[in-house]
């Protein structure tokens, strides 16, 4: 019974979103559904946070290997939550100075902005920066120009990389005007505007068709894998 109701909810909600652009009377219902979705998505963050606390508390409680890191996670979670929800250090909003909590949560000088600027941003951007090393290392080990396709991939990556750097511009800067199309920056631009556009366009069209087909399968109740174990396909 619970699964039948779930299927009905998914189909009705999806059909409302699908039909709302075509019927003016349904437009507001579609917009309202989006609002409900956004609020549920925000509540889902609370669910995720609750799950994180549950898992880490049990690790600390059992004194598992690395429980100290779990404790640090919980501590940082609690501090950020208190600082953010309590708007600690947030100056009043000059427009509504009489309203106690009207200040922006991430106003300059607030503790929440401090956490974003000095903890969240440095760690996340450094983690992404590390990928520069790993991508280069993986490419060096895995990329071999053993056939035509691999050579095309490698050659394009090489041209695009060099074409966007000072070294690339300098290397081919001496080419005469009639051969300016072969300068690395121009070659890189040509690849991006022609071959890359064509390839990406086909991929995007393919994704759009795939998403549409999958979504229709869900709305028609053919694909029930999202319900987890026992859902499956009809």
């Amino acid at each position: 019974m619970m699964r039948i109701v779930a299927l009905a909810i998914a189909s009705v909600a999806g059909l409302v979103m699908l039909l709302s652009p075509f019927f003016p009377a349904m437009e507001s219902v579609g917009a309202q559904s989006s609002e409900i979705f956004n609020v549920i998505a925000a509540i889902a963050f609370i669910l995720g946070a609750g799950s994180l606390v549950k898992v880490n508390l049990s690790r600390v409680g059992r004194r598992d290997t690395g429980w100290g890191y779990a404790f640090v996670t919980l501590l940082c979670f609690a501090i950020t939550l208190i600082v953010g929800l309590g708007k600690i250090g947030v100056p009043p909003n000059p427009q509504f100075a009489a309203t106690p909590w009207a200040g922006e949560k991430d106003a300059a000088g607030s503790a929440f902005a401090w956490i974003y600027e000095f903890i969240l941003t440095p760690i996340t951007s450094t983690m992404f920066a590390l990928l520069a090393f790993y991508v280069a290392s993986a490419a060096f080990r895995a990329f071999r120009a053993k056939n035509r396709e691999a050579m095309l991939l490698l050659g394009t990556a090489f041209i695009v990389l060099l074409g966007r750097t000072f070294a690339g511009v300098w290397l081919t800067g001496g080419f005469p005007e009639w051969a300016s199309g072969l300068r690395l920056e121009n070659l890189s631009m040509f690849i991006m505007q022609v071959f890359n556009t064509a390839g990406n366009r086909a991929i995007i069209i393919g994704i759009a068709l795939g998403v549409t087909a999958t979504s229709l399968r869900i709305l028609l109740g053919i694909d029930r894998s999202w319900m987890g174990a026992g859902g499956g396909s009809a």
Partner: protein, 340 residues
């Protein structure tokens, strides 16, 4: 299973820590030091209406701190040694050190996994989970849910200019609250199964919205963008090399899109004409992946250079590309004989 010898690793770690400590020690001792943040005091004063006050008004005062460069602090002190308008910002100074140490902790993974990296990892997990939760509360739950279901309280304490909700939005937020509570029941194993109803709503809305958005902005928009005139007349006439050259990109794009789509079409065996088109499609796709790879590497290297710049500029004060630490033409790297 052979156990890896520990001593070389300890030696390498000792060398890394000593090298960083030596650079920091040298930098603290040379020139005007390193890693300090300054801020300018800004007095704020606003008059607000207050029915409880005899005059009907009340003055609200507070102080805000605006970040300024070290050079501005130096100038302010030289103009008036006893000034307190521009001061050292202890919170941001500590922040610079925290950010630098966390950056180094993450970079330490390049050698191998270690406690400093794992500590930074534990910090980011806790901070980011709470960060996005807080964003969700202040950006969605408070203005939409509280704004509709507890409008009076929300406008009195948090968002004074929030418009009054309609009956429809109140019903909608009531449904959102009910579905949200069902979702949170997932944390209670005994009744967690009922959260599938909220999941159903999320899946249904996403599926419906994705069909519209992908068909409209991807399928149709990309198809329309491909349907452009193949011949692009250039100066000098139709049958000229210039026209041929100008038309080449349009032709190559159309051919490429059709060949790539042929490659994606698996209902027909890739033989004969279809096979040839699919092979051309593969070549286009390889070029696309190569370009994507190049761009990804470029993006990561740009991020890397930003982090290195942060360490050398904001933290160590070894470089000064924005000239924020030049006082009377002298760089603080070498020392301005100043007011620190």
């Amino acid at each position: 299973m052979s156990k890896e010898p520990r001593s070389p690793a300890i030696l390498v770690w000792a060398m890394i820590v000593l090298a960083v400590a030596a650079v920091v020690g040298l930098r603290i001792g040379l020139g005007d030091g390193m890693a300090r943040a300054y801020a300018e005091r800004v007095e704020m004063r606003v008059t607000v209406q207050d029915v409880a006050s005899p005059s009907g008004e009340r003055v609200v005062e507070w102080v805000e701190w605006k970040s300024v460069s070290p050079a501005e602090f130096s100038r302010a002190v030289r103009e008036s040694p006893s000034q307190d308008r521009v001061q050292l910002n202890p919170a941001n100074t500590v922040g610079l050190w925290v950010a630098a140490l966390l950056t180094l902790a993450i970079f330490s993974f390049l050698y191998r996994d270690n406690p400093a990296y794992r500590l930074a990892e534990a910090i980011i997990i806790g901070v980011s989970a709470a960060y996005w939760g807080v964003i969700g509360v202040w950006d969605s739950i408070v203005p939409k849910l509280f704004g509709a279901l507890a409008h009076g309280w929300t406008t009195a304490h948090i968002l004074p200019n929030l418009p009054a909700p309609t009956t429809q939005s109140q019903i909608g937020m009531g449904i959102a609250l009910a579905l949200g509570i069902l979702l949170l029941l997932r944390l209670v194993p005994a009744v967690g199964g009922i959260s599938v109803w909220t999941m159903a709503f999320i899946v249904g809305i996403t599926a419906g919205a994705k069909i519209i958005s992908h068909v409209e902005s991807d399928l149709l928009a990309q198809t329309v963008a491909t349907m452009q005139p193949l011949v692009q007349p250039a100066d000098g006439g139709f049958w000229t090399g210039a026209t041929l050259w100008a038309s080449l990109p349009s032709v190559l794009v159309v051919v490429g899109v059709l060949c790539c789509l042929t490659y994606f079409f698996f209902s027909v065996e890739h033989k004969g004409v279809v096979g040839s088109a699919a092979r051309i499609g593969i070549m286009y796709l390889m070029i696309t992946f190569g370009a994507a790879f190049g761009f990804t590497v470029m993006g990561r290297v740009a991020l890397l250079s930003q982090r290195v710049e942060f360490l050398l500029d904001d933290w160590l004060w070894l470089i000064d590309p924005l000239e924020r630490r030049i006082v009377d033409g002298v760089s603080m790297i070498v020392g301005t004989g100043g007011v620190w």
